[in-house]
Symmetry: C2
Subunit: 133 residues, 2 copies
DNA sequence: AATAAAACCTACTAAATCGGTAGGTTTTAT
DNA sequence: ATAAAACCTACCGATTTAGTAGGTTTTATT
């Protein structure tokens, strides 16, 4: 139950960009060095973030990245979901294909997990990039 | 961010045992069939649960397992931790050895994660096996 | 005493995931 | 023309995960 390096790095990079002037273009390399992220790995992460419309990019010399949304409009839940999928343990890890998972028959357990998932989602949805700056 | 099959199966098995008369010995095989768990896999899980004092076992013919504690005294947080380790994302997934992890420099992010971890822990610690029956 | 049912224990394995690297191409300001 | 940047895809080694295999020991029952 932890974040992957991908989503952790994504958050760190977004926070860094959030601290820069909104119109400044910053290279992935610069962010990588500033936040201690392996540069080629961050490149991949930025590709995903751009495709998901969190970042805008400008190609070529003097190009770089900038936030595509205001920090108040980027909530952390979405970012983490982009890389790690769902936020809490509702999906079963066990291998059941056509039959219902055994856990699905234990309603109270399922309710607990849903409760946790909902709370974690709500907490992270309520937190925006702006709150991290 | 999901449970492993191990802890999920452990919970399902404990719930099943919790529903049986406290003094009844139930074989791992019986529990496996009832809850849809691969029998040899459950055997391993029961070994851990016994060593961690959640179960008592009786060997030989007509032997089996029974809860070693009352259902009100088994909280779900402990069980999950036994198999999956810590409950929420505070440890960093990225590889940093001597230097502080970059995330540690982002205090607000760290605070958020701690907050989530604490809430999830508290929620699961407050929930006992008895609540599932 | 023989059998069978059960716990006990350890090693293994196939698949998936993860964290990261490699190696290019294309675009564009200088 | 050059260099700096984004873009893109494939790969790779390590670890974790989910489960299997194959025994041994113990004990109630016959």
């Amino acid at each position: 139950m932890k974040l992957t390096a991908r989503s952790e790095y994504a958050l760190l990079a977004l926070i860094y960009l959030g601290r820069q002037p909104a119109d400044l273009l910053v290279s992935a390399e610069t962010v990588a060095i500033a936040q201690g992220i392996p540069p080629k790995f961050l490149e991949q992460i930025f590709l995903s973030l751009r495709r998901a419309k969190y970042l805008r990019s400008t190609k070529g010399h003097r190009g770089g990245y900038q936030l595509a949304r205001r920090p108040t409009e980027i909530n952390l839940a979405e970012v983490v979901r982009l890389f790690d999928g769902a936020l809490a343990p509702t999906e079963s890890a066990s291998r059941h294909f056509y039959e219902p998972t055994p856990i699905e028959k234990e309603e109270k357990l399922l309710d607990l997990f849903k409760d946790i998932r909902d709370w974690v989602s709500a907490r992270m949805e309520a937190t925006t990039l702006a709150d991290m700056l």
